[in-house]
Symmetry: D2
Subunit: 124 residues, 4 copies
Amino acid sequence: MAAFTDATTTVAELKTRVLAFVHERDWEQFHSPKNLSMALAAETGELMEHFLWATPEHSKAIANEPAKRARIADELADVVIYALEFANITGLDVAAAIEAKMAANAKKYPVEKAKGRSEKYDEL
Amino acid sequence: MAAFTDATTTVAELKTRVLAFVHERDWEQFHSPKNLSMALAAETGELMEHFLWATPEHSKAIANEPAKRARIADELADVVIYALEFANITGLDVAAAIEAKMAANAKKYPVEKAKGRSEKYDEL
Amino acid sequence: MAAFTDATTTVAELKTRVLAFVHERDWEQFHSPKNLSMALAAETGELMEHFLWATPEHSKAIANEPAKRARIADELADVVIYALEFANITGLDVAAAIEAKMAANAKKYPVEKAKGRSEKYDEL
Amino acid sequence: MAAFTDATTTVAELKTRVLAFVHERDWEQFHSPKNLSMALAAETGELMEHFLWATPEHSKAIANEPAKRARIADELADVVIYALEFANITGLDVAAAIEAKMAANAKKYPVEKAKGRSEKYDEL
């Protein structure tokens, strides 16, 4: 099997990979939307833990320290795995959802108003 | 532009889409790993909110209610968008990270020990 | 020093205890509202991890298993410690904030409408 | 009834206040440890949202803007309310748990090693 890379792997291939792992272990019984949303949130907590006390600027250096980088990649993988499994069990299409959300975001954050600004759309 | 679907869209295509949106608004300046990990975690909170008081079983029905389904898809999109943008700014390859993590998970959770069980690997 | 118990300890006493610990270590420099909100969120992730795959009903039994109970108490303590430290550095009065919030909640969730129901106030 | 303030209110008084609100609405049925840990985590997400794109330094100013301050106090109240209700339904003593955790933290972070440093204890 060829290695997975972002350039060559579709979202569906990743979803299938995750689902096969889950199915092989008979874990679908635990994978309700509720439980997966919790697992997803718990994993984002682990990702944040690498950056709690750093400045935003310094967090870039942390993500480049070799020892930390591998663990950060692991936490990011956990986050995306649970997001994909959430999509698997709910039947949602992630790429379509992203496209729809970005179209909505483009209306909420038109370039001419949002450029260089971090306020929420209702404060722009 | 053809519509994005999981079956036909690579992770890299989604990453590029997100990055273009960010770049157009000059938002890279806000997108440190620290800030993105926070935004990601905050979005998972919004996803969880749909399921707080439901049983795991009932959460499946919630994810199928048309009015809620659209909002749940939106929250899931937000989660994945921030995860992809985190990968963009750190230079991580999501698909490769998932493949590596699942290989590690397969060792921690061998089928014969983990089948049908929800315990953590150190309690199996 | 007498032991702390909920029955005899004021919120201010706990806040002072936390602040002394922080001050002794010269940690105020790391304790911005942003950083503390992240730490607080990360700790809630650790609390959730005990209950990810359990049913709500079974989560009660988990909280009573002696080995887990001690760890759960630890995670809960971490959550409240960071919440109190957030109040310390922002100058917020937790008890007053709770009283104000509960008065607002009482209006959003009048007993006759909310009794026995888990919907959000805008769906009641 | 006198107003609640941190200086004069015990943790037990706050716990009783929260429990009375819950009991009046017959909400104990929804308040398993699992569900409350989720609600707690979701509320911390809302607290974080105020600080996502700010620097840690600037987050102090945000917490002092009058309009935001009231909302931040509300989110903090929500966090502590759910933490106290978690303690209510599990029978945990928050003040005792904090005292025990801080004694353990004092061993993990002795002043002479931890002073002015933000590393985790296993990296000090």
